[in-house]
Subunit: 201 residues, 2 copies
Amino acid sequence: MQQRSEETRAHILKSALSLFSKNGYDATSVAEICQAAGVSKGAFYHHFVSKQAVFQSLLEGWLSGLNLQMDALLNAAPDVPSGFMRLASMAGPVFRDAQGQFPMFLEFWTQSSRDPALWQTAIAPYRHFLELFSNTLAKGIQQGSIRPMDPKLTAQALLALAMGVVLQAVMDPQETAGGSVAEQGIRLLFEGLKPHQEGDQ
Amino acid sequence: MQQRSEETRAHILKSALSLFSKNGYDATSVAEICQAAGVSKGAFYHHFVSKQAVFQSLLEGWLSGLNLQMDALLNAAPDVPSGFMRLASMAGPVFRDAQGQFPMFLEFWTQSSRDPALWQTAIAPYRHFLELFSNTLAKGIQQGSIRPMDPKLTAQALLALAMGVVLQAVMDPQETAGGSVAEQGIRLLFEGLKPHQEGDQ
């Protein structure tokens, strides 16, 4: 029974992801998700309180996978700047995996800017990455691989770059070599974050 | 008669901007715009072929103002890096002026990623800024104020930073000192773009 229930949940998530990506979050109804997943409305509401809860679960699944990869890369790197360079080199594969899903995230963000309840869902991962970047930069400063500066402000700039690369990939997938832009941006930012060498003015 | 017609057009644009910002582009109908502007549907369609044309006109008005300011700042600066720093210092005022309008732009971008006709409207200013940044960087390389690198890729990274700063301002207006993040990001990027000094490795 437990296994059956897990499978139903997975079916709902998979069907919802496919419909959200194809038709948009707003244009997709719970009835359509149920039909595509081959489940009753009763089964749906046994697993999720709302369409928004399905989206939240998809977002959390995607982000927790991304997060594990990011933590592993940052921890395995010899220092903080090379950790971030390795993150940038992840951008290409992340874009490939997420192809077709970004417009849905963008749609959800847009709606959340008008809806306080949705906003809590959208803002949590953003704040989480901001904290991860900020803590990692602070570690780099402590270890001497990054020059002293405001870690939070710099983390916001790094995250802005990452978010902008995502937006470009949504808007202009043909023209945007998302991976290369991320690498170029991070490389330049970390040139600017290098500790001053003896002999510098 | 000519003056009356210009006034009607301006009324329609003002009412549409206010409704789009408050309720969203999708949720706003031509009938509501007409009512708010105090004009007939006939008068509306005399000036605009569709709701999308109104949005396009608002976007073009906003961008051409921004563009004039950017050109003036870049041209008045003593060199390319300080030109971009002056652009970054514009971010604060630009955010204040555009407050409440970004979610609407974001909504339009999202929709345009699914609609080829809208996409042409959304992509044109993006490509324009990309070209402006790319040409300006190429000028800096030629003049020796920027180290030799790929101007287009670097322009994409700069534009990604700018777009990400806008996204942060939409998502997290309380936490985001948009101007400072833009300045920090541009400062670091241009540290990375400095020409190598004699004596550098």
